[in-house]
């Protein structure tokens, strides 16, 4: 069975074969690993990967599972559940600016109908004593502002809709990487 796990903007592919009770064989790229696993408690697993022991703490979150191994924590999501997410730009690219975390809108820097440049500040949100400027991911025109100053916003709530200017997708992506 193949697993596609999303980590940040990246997809990690594992070919997994159950080879016994609590035993599996996992292939990642050129690396093949023999794994023994056992659940110790709700959030704790004991693993043996190619003969080496590890403890893994796992918790279910709304957007995936948080996994901690050897002091390092990763948020992984089943990509089949969430759909592939290209990094930015292109035909499947964003049409909106969303809130990255629960925050309060402290300032709106643009007006409806206004053309904006890529990287131009649109909205200032405040969370945990820190102000953050949310910037336009591409050039375009503000079609709608969905929030008011002082309003609380949730993760991924769409704050501003932007209609993109016609731009070559490949170039847009390149710019994003160099930005």
């Amino acid at each position: 069975m193949d697993y596609k796990l999303k980590y940040n903007e990246e997809i990690i592919t594992l070919a997994v074969e159950a080879v016994g009770d609590g035993l599996l064989s996992a292939t990642m790229g050129y690396k093949k690993m023999e794994v023994a696993f056992e659940r110790i408690s709700e959030n704790l697993l004991s693993l043996r990967v190619d003969g080496r022991k590890h403890l893994a703490y796992v918790a279910e979150l709304p957007d995936g599972k948080a996994v901690m191994v050897d002091g390092r924590t990763f948020l992984l999501a089943d990509d089949r559940a969430t759909g592939t997410r290209p990094r930015s730009g292109g035909a499947n690219g964003p049409k909106a600016v969303t809130a990255p975390m629960p925050a309060v809108v402290t300032q709106i820097l643009v007006a409806q109908g206004q053309p904006v440049e890529k990287g131009q500040g649109l909205v200032v949100v405040s969370a945990m004593k820190m102000d953050t400027v949310l910037a336009a991911p591409y050039a375009g025109r503000v079609t709608r502002i969905n929030v008011a100053e002082g309003q609380k916003v949730s993760p991924r709530q769409v704050l501003v809709d932007i209609e993109p200017a016609v731009v070559d997708a490949a170039e847009g992506r390149k710019e994003a990487i160099h930005g």
Binding site: Y3, L24, V35, L45, A66, M101
Partner: protein, 495 residues
């Protein structure tokens, strides 16, 4: 001694203060905003008084509401913790006027030391070394130009009311001076309501070393050695340690004495911290006095064996400080890591949310002062500190190893933390060599990203978690029969 203290703060520092109060037999009053109804400090206080909405100005900074809570509960004293009202002279003054003991220095001392220009003048009079620079506010560009020439470039413009890096500009060239001054002043006005700025010499490769002091109401003052706090991100400390790898015994004695002199020059009472800049040649310069308990106070507690909060409360209650400088000694090495809800991959952006799982490190020489628990929703409204992880060991090398072990066994799932980033800092050659300058993170860790090998293991753990049957039933392996014989042999074992 006080019978009841109100803690005008939240989170881990409120919890930490309550613990000492409880051990002293003092009842505690927690205050909380709407966002903190289920916060640990709200749960652990003997009483808890709601203040109002999450916004600090309407809760933890609302002086009238806090004073009302003190009066309503009959608390005799207020501990302000750090942040919020801890260095607010108006609040301290209001407490004095209302007959409430403020656990900190007198309002006038907070006011004097809160103004950096005033503080510099006090230190100069007390012969405490200060950074070359201005000693009075000035409007005239010619006066600025003259000072600039005399001090020499690069220069640093600082806000007199400042803190947290706001209203600060480095100036490398005379041509930039006027514009930089205007920009800094504008920023200071916005941040502090006071646009006063002044000039200091800029010291590029330096360390941030601070001295903990304790002074009682009779004028007896001592220092509790130094803390090295050079590892910072966004002008905020993330790793602190003591002793400083840079101090010799004679430099330690000189800086300690300077801090005591500074305290006495300012008429200081209670616990405070005198911050210094230390240059690579061993010259040190007064930076500012923090007129409160510091986030990093536990490392001083570890090496001295003292409970600083207890001494704060005893001093505030008018007791003389029984400790003398001679009988104090620094034992072993202590390190603190601040564990924030933040994302080290995204420039330490805050990462609020619900803590789904929380397992604290334990063991010899490990202390974790936490303000959260599994199931707690870390609020958006406040500084996202979750806990302060502190270790103590015989030597610096052993303390580093101990901190690495503690970080590796610290599981916080649901919000992002810098635990893996901190692991890499502690394991790095420059940290281990003690090359802890204030530019450390910018110099060595700007392009940090998480370990790839462990990511592979995490992916395997994800799959294993999906495949492994979920928790066994809550009962014991061997269930008793549904209707057991009721007689319990246990009662007859004493026959």
């Amino acid at each position: 001694m006080f019978k009841k203290i109100l803690i005008a703060n939240r989170g881990e520092i409120a919890v930490r203060i309550m613990r000492t109060c409880k051990e002293m037999g003092i009842a505690t009053v927690a205050v909380y905003s709407d966002a903190d109804k289920h916060a640990l400090h709200t749960l652990e206080g003997d009483e808890a008084v709601p203040l109002g909405p999450a916004e600090p100005s309407q809760s933890y900074l609302a002086i009238d509401r806090i004073i009302a809570a003190v009066q309503q509960t009959g608390a005799e004293a207020v501990h302000p913790g750090y942040g919020f009202l801890a260095e607010n002279a108006d609040f301290a003054e209001r407490c004095e006027r209302e007959g409430i003991v403020f656990i900190g220095p007198p309002a006038q001392v907070i006011r004097d030391l809160g103004n950096k220009i005033t503080a510099r003048r006090i230190m100069l009079q007390g012969r405490v070394p200060i950074i070359p620079g201005m000693l009075a506010a000035a409007d005239d560009p010619a006066v600025w130009a003259a000072h600039a020439e005399q001090i020499g470039f690069p220069l640093l413009i600082k806000a007199s009311a400042g803190g947290g890096g706001k209203g600060m500009r480095i100036v490398h060239d005379p041509a930039e001076l006027a514009e930089a001054r205007r920009g800094a002043s504008r920023e200071a006005t916005a941040a502090f309501g006071d646009g006063t700025v002044y000039l200091e010499k800029f010291l590029p490769k330096c360390r941030h070393v601070e001295i903990q002091i304790l002074a009682d109401q009779k004028g007896h003052a001592i220092h509790l050695f130094e803390r090295e706090c050079s590892i910072q991100r966004r002008h905020q400390k993330i790793i602190e340690e003591t002793p400083s790898p840079a101090l010799t015994p004679s430099l330690r004695a000189a800086m300690g004495q300077a801090a005591v002199t500074a305290a006495q020059a300012a008429g200081y009472v209670n616990a405070g911290t005198v911050e210094f800049i230390l240059d690579p040649d061993g010259n040190f310069y007064f930076l500012e006095v923090n007129t409160r308990l510091q986030v990093e106070h536990p490392i001083t507690e570890m090496i001295t064996g003292l409970d600083l909060v207890r001494h704060q409360i005893e001093i505030a209650a008018g007791r003389p400080l029984a400790l003398t400088q001679d009988e104090l000694s620094s034992r072993g090495h202590a390190i603190e890591c601040r564990i924030y809800a933040e994302d080290p991959e995204q420039n330490f952006m805050p990462s609020p949310g619900r803590i789904a799982f929380f397992k604290e490190p334990t063991g010899p020489g490990v202390r974790n002062d936490s303000g959260v628990y599994a199931g707690f929703e870390v609020p958006v409204a406040y500084d996202p500190i979750l806990s302060k992880l502190v270790v103590h060991a015989e030597t610096r090398e052993q303390a580093i190893r101990r901190m690495i072990r503690a970080l590796q066994s610290y599981a916080v799932l649901g919000v992002r933390t810098p635990i893996d980033f901190l692991l890499d800092v502690l394991a790095s050659a420059p940290f281990q060599a003690g090359e802890t300058y204030t530019d450390f993170i910018a110099r060595h860790f700007t392009k940090w990203s998480p370990d790839r090998d462990t990511l592979d293991l995490a992916a395997i753990a994800y799959v294993a978690d999906t495949m492994a049957p979920k928790a066994r039933p809550a009962g014991r392996a061997a269930q008793p029969p549904a209707h057991p014989d009721p007689w319990h042999t246990l009662n007859h074992w004493r026959l």
